[in-house]
């Protein structure tokens, strides 16, 4: 998901930069705190970042006939919350903006806001609401689905705010058709993939997840469940 370079009027580019900048700085502080308190969680951090790296490079066909890519932010959101995920997303978005001309430097703030902040925040809230109520795997699946889909809904809102032609509502439904509808099957796909990865982490390293406070620490080392 990207708003292309130069396609946001300077005022909007500045607004999103400001908001995203604050969150990313807060995320870096949180990240440093987490690493110094629990250095053993570093591999999971690398895993969440790498997952975003792979998923955002895969442009997948959707039933609407256009292509778009997953965001991979749901896994990070569930494990680390939205602020730290925003830092990871910034790395991914910088790579794509600088080397691939996908997204851009002027639109970086807006793209971080949708993919790095709002998507993960929505996923995080979904996970918190469902955790303990349904099987944790499905809570993760749904969190990832909404993190992905939320990203594209937010992008549609951002574009409709910048181009309210002829009015905000009409513009929103136009951009929504391009982004949000295309994204539904891709979001489901990402949710399932995130669920698979999640179950595998839970089988191999439940200790790391309990260190992060996501699952109860009752599972002993090596125990699948």
């Amino acid at each position: 998901m990207h708003i292309m370079e130069g396609f946001l009027p300077p005022m909007w580019a500045a607004i999103w930069f400001l908001i995203s900048g604050i969150v990313v700085i807060y995320g870096i502080i949180q990240l440093n705190k987490l690493i110094s308190e629990k250095p053993e969680i570093k591999p999971t951090l690398a895993l969440a970042g790498a997952f975003m790296f792979v998923l955002s490079s895969l442009k997948l066909p959707s039933v609407t006939g256009s292509c778009s890519h997953p965001t991979g932010s749901g896994l990070g959101a569930v494990m680390f919350g939205p602020a730290i995920t925003a830092v990871l997303a910034t790395i991914v978005l910088l790579f794509q903006a600088v080397l691939l001309a996908h997204g851009g430097l002027t639109t970086l703030g807006a793209n971080i806001f949708s993919m790095g902040i709002m998507g993960p925040l929505i996923g995080y809230i979904v996970f918190k609401l469902l955790k303990g109520k349904i099987n944790i795997t499905w809570a993760v699946v749904l969190a990832a689905i909404f993190a992905n889909w939320g990203t594209y809904v937010v992008t549609s809102i951002q574009l409709a705010l910048a181009y309210p032609i002829p009015d905000f509502g009409t513009a929103l439904s136009n951009f929504g058709t391009v982004f949000a509808i295309t994204q539904i099957p891709l979001a489901i796909m990402e949710g399932l993939l995130t669920g698979l990865i999640w179950d595998y982490i839970m089988k191999l390293r439940p200790d790391l997840l309990s260190k992060l406070g996501i699952i109860d620490g009752k599972l002993n080392n090596g125990g699948a469940q």
């Binding site: 998901m1 990207h2 708003i3 292309m4 370079e5 130069g6 396609f7 300077p10 999971t44 690398a46 970042g49 790498a50 997952f51 790296f53 792979v54 998923l55 955002s56 490079s57 442009k59 066909p61 959707s62 039933v63 609407t64 006939g65 256009s66 292509c67 778009s68 790579f95 794509q96 903006a97 080397l99 691939l100 996908h102 851009g104 430097l105 002027t106 795997t137 992008t155 574009l159 181009y163 032609i165 513009a171 136009n174 951009f175 391009v178 982004f179 295309t182 994204q183 099957p185 489901i188 796909m189 399932l192 993939l193 698979l196 179950d199 595998y200 191999l204 390293r205 080392n221 090596g222």
Partner: protein, 99 residues
Amino acid sequence: MELKHVLMIIGIIILTIAPLVMYSGLTEEDGYFGGADGAASDLIMELSPEYEPWFEPFWEPPSGEIESLLFALQAAIGAIIIGYFFGYNKAKYDFESKN
């Protein structure tokens, strides 16, 4: 592997292949399988034709080949890290459950 996981993998495969089957034979020239990002910027140009992008990417991959190189690189970096994490922990898990 549990049945749940097999079904999840089948779901992913079906979701990926379904659009290719639905629009089989159609290509980018027919308006299919282009990027949604590009579609959004086309929509912006349609809504406000006088809009000029005010900033250009300072570097663009010179061709589609180079672009796919960089995309493959991006995926490879991610895949190496994921593979390392699971490879290392799988071996550790197997070792520990043997003892």
